[in-house]
Subunit: 258 residues, 2 copies
Amino acid sequence: MSDVDWLEQTTENGVTKREFTLHRGARPVPGVLWSPERPVAGTPLVLFGHGASGDRHQMPIPWLARRLVADAGFNGLAIDGPVHGRRKVGDGARGAFAVEWRRDGCVDDMLADWAAALDAVQTLDDVGRGPIGYWGLSMGTIFGAPLVAAEPRIGVAVLGLMGVAGPTEAFRERIRSAAAAIRCPVLFLMQLEDELFTREQYLELFDRLASDDKRLHANPGLHPQVPTEELDACVAFLSRHLGGEKREPRRFAFNVSQ
Amino acid sequence: MSDVDWLEQTTENGVTKREFTLHRGARPVPGVLWSPERPVAGTPLVLFGHGASGDRHQMPIPWLARRLVADAGFNGLAIDGPVHGRRKVGDGARGAFAVEWRRDGCVDDMLADWAAALDAVQTLDDVGRGPIGYWGLSMGTIFGAPLVAAEPRIGVAVLGLMGVAGPTEAFRERIRSAAAAIRCPVLFLMQLEDELFTREQYLELFDRLASDDKRLHANPGLHPQVPTEELDACVAFLSRHLGGEKREPRRFAFNVSQ
């Protein structure tokens, strides 16, 4: 069982933000939980994984969390990735992550961090065990694809800014097998002129997702140039799938009935 | 000046549907106009181009038109393509179109049909000259891309189910140059296992669009397996761009501010 230190708590526009540190032996995990000022146990929870050189507060995570809390009544949880945020090593940017990424156990350690953080939050009386979604791009998919594959509590995911690529063949195999084990609905975001991943690497990852309910939104531009309209798409997608809307059989536009 | 025969008119759930034939010498053009039961001149108009083997009433055109009329107060206009609908030749299906598609002047004739239909509808007191959008997939893009490129009155377009492909090099060049002349906002729909067009052909067409405001939504499946959620995306996209919402400068998700 992990030990949680609850740090500062603030409430703004109906959204309560709680900072915390989860103590797990030599590997403390800094995290933040957003929830409605008047919480209802068992409402949906979205996990947010940040990108390399960011931290748990990297935009658009707080923007999305506040939208989902304020508009949909959900909870949001973000933790710092390894060598980032309050776990910063070296420059805490892509250089530090490039070293960590090559380490055996890098992904497994982060998955254990996520499981511990999720356990800790779900034991809170005002959060409880509701439906769970995941949102994470770039490094948030490097860890997020294996997490969504391994964590049966996650029922919907936004992934992207990433392809079948990585510094070692072991990691590339890990991403391939993770994708093949993901069966929940997925929204996948792609940048068409990404300087970090090729179109072929992106499409290989998307193709390998085992979900029969998946869609790809591709936009022109470099890796970080995701247009804000995709944030609206993320909010709508997560709200729809976590908000208890009855899952309809997949229908096609050319057969739609009046 | 074209001569219009107004045929049957019906009103259902607040939407008035008027069938017509536009007489232009040897080339009568069958069309249908959807408008609000209580029309307001100068509201937006969406042109709908159907797919091969369909006609002006091919789903999802009536579904989209009725949504845009009922929810947004827009008008909708669809005309039969060559060798289709009331202009049917032979089987009126892909076989007949394959022959027509090779004909010199095939695209120019359809563009003249569209211009005449648009002129006729805009002279109606209850329609008038509002903002104009275009929606057309597959054959609706084969004609639609050149139309959007050539028609300065069109300010937003949904295109897709089509790539840089076609039976003649002249046509492929026509599509390439049309794409390079399109500067309005575009939503482009792609099917990832399309049996008619390769991913490379799709992406070449999307890449060539000169619009700086364009996005691609790709879904798994064969050519006709566009999921219905893309219809909601089409309605939202057309409503947003034609409905007078102020065009904001393009912003990126990682820079969004709280």
